[in-house]
């Protein structure tokens, strides 16, 4: 995967370099932008989210690696460790964990909430790691900045797991501004991801 090295560059240069790579026809599937400027990282992420472009960010040695999937191409981010080794010692598969609700199972919501917390906290312990976690309906509430699981999701994201949040659901619960980890997505992309992975796990 092509690497765009924007280290040492000030805003808005890293974003300009990202934009230029997005329209560069010689880069077919995706590329990685390296930046050591926190503001640039935030701006690039916001720009990509606003334009519904998929990306995954990992941080290494005070430098962010933003892996960007070019729109209209098949997912190339399913194996980001090839280009950006994550030192977890864990295998990763392309399976998806799909969280449909903030509660795990039916019966008692109080119990369901506890179980869900335990479930999400356990994800990183299990090998292989999933390639993606999709959140919809009240499941999106687990990934908001005031959720007790906010840090866990950030950690999972930093392990290279894509966190995908249903945009319609985030809108419905008015929490779009509070989704700090993950990419807001739509039904088309969610269904495509579910259709193309090897298996789906529902808690």
């Amino acid at each position: 995967m092509r690497e765009i090295d924007a280290r040492g560059q000030q805003c808005p240069k890293p974003l300009i370099m990202t934009r230029s790579a997005l329209s560069d026809k010689t880069i077919e599937y995706g590329f990685t932008v390296l930046t050591d400027n926190a503001t640039s990282k935030d701006n690039i992420e916001r720009y990509l989210s606003d334009n519904s472009i998929k990306f995954t960010t990992t941080e290494k040695n005070d430098c962010w690696h933003i892996q960007i999937e070019k729109p209209g191409t098949e997912s190339v981010l399913s194996e980001p460790e090839l280009h950006c080794p994550v030192t977890t010692g864990k295998n990763r598969s392309d399976h998806i964990i799909c969280i449909k609700s903030r509660f795990m199972g039916n019966g008692s919501d109080e119990l369901g909430e506890l179980l869900m917390k335990g479930f999400v906290n356990t994800i990183k312990e299990i090998s292989p790691l999933p390639g993606e976690i999709i959140l919809y309906n009240s499941g999106v509430l687990l990934a908001t900045d005031d959720s007790t699981l906010a840090e866990t999701f950030a950690e999972l994201h930093s392990l290279g797991i894509r966190i995908t949040v249903c945009g319609t659901c985030a809108d419905y619960f008015s929490v779009k501004d509070h989704i700090t980890t993950g990419t807001i997505s739509n039904m088309y992309d969610i269904l495509s991801a579910l259709s193309n992975c090897s298996r789906v796990i529902y808690p």
Binding site: P12, I16, M17, R19, T39, D50
Partner: protein
Amino acid sequence: MNDKIDLLKDIEHGGCSAKLPADKLREIVSQIPVLESPDLMVGSNTSDDAMVMKITDSLAIIQTTDFFPPVCSDPFDFGQIAAANAISDIYAMGGAPLSALNLVMFPSQKYGEEVLLEILRGGAEKVIEAGAVLGGGHTIEDPQIKYGLAVTGTAHPGSIITNCAAKPGEVLILTKPLGTAVVVAGKKIDLVSDEVYEKAISSMKQLNNHACSIMVKSGIMAATDITGFGLCGHACEMALGSGVTLKINLHHLPSFEGVYDMINSGCIPTASFRNLRNVEGKAEFPEHIDYNLKMLALDAQTSGGILMSVKESDSKRILNELIDSGYEYSAIVGEVTERVPEKPPVCLI
């Protein structure tokens, strides 16, 4: 003599781009005590451009201050722009500048005194052009240059123009092109032609004095000047203050030549993203919006134009007068409607 001086060299956020985020600021300002006064006509609670105190039934004073780090390479230009920007708040309230004081922070180890002189000379000439008297100021040593003015103006209490008086049925006129922050960011990385840069510099230097005269003469009651929060941010303040909805047509926004292409190439200053966060929940963008136009509406302006709300029947005449007075980019950019409940106060179409 200043051929080698480039004030932009070590500046990350210049001009009004250097503002603190509006939401944080509001939260802090709301906690500081204020003496209640029946003579305070406009205070900080409505996010207006300046404060207004009634002195007598026929006299009100308008006070404002503004200062920021360099927004351009040349010290004299910077002085002119900082002064025009500070004085603009008086014009946006429909007032006449009366007096001004310099506010300067200057690293005397880094720059020679001729740089300070050029900045002050630029500012002073602008103050004279505005018809105000410069009566001194305050200078302190600081690692980064900052310059601006505290300005006092006067007006009749009955003709104060605020951002709280826009009425449904009126149309919105913007008097200067957008894109100053894009141009300055582009200048730092050699992405902008000299011609476009010079155009932006002269627009930032241009006083809003004639726009003010036209507003006062035409009995306009609602206006604000467009600065660091961008057109969209200042439109939100006007919509909230006036209890109306502002509909802004992105395709009618005036901008400097080449700015659209620069935004398209990713030359989007950080302040635009900050302004975007600031208007979330307050401004509604259509789903398939032209992203470049959206970011233009969020571009932080330094010494920007005036956004005025005018009767539709007067709009053509006022627009022509503005263009004839030197605001050649003036354009009708939107309209005022009744506040739509459950909808954000600013709607971009």
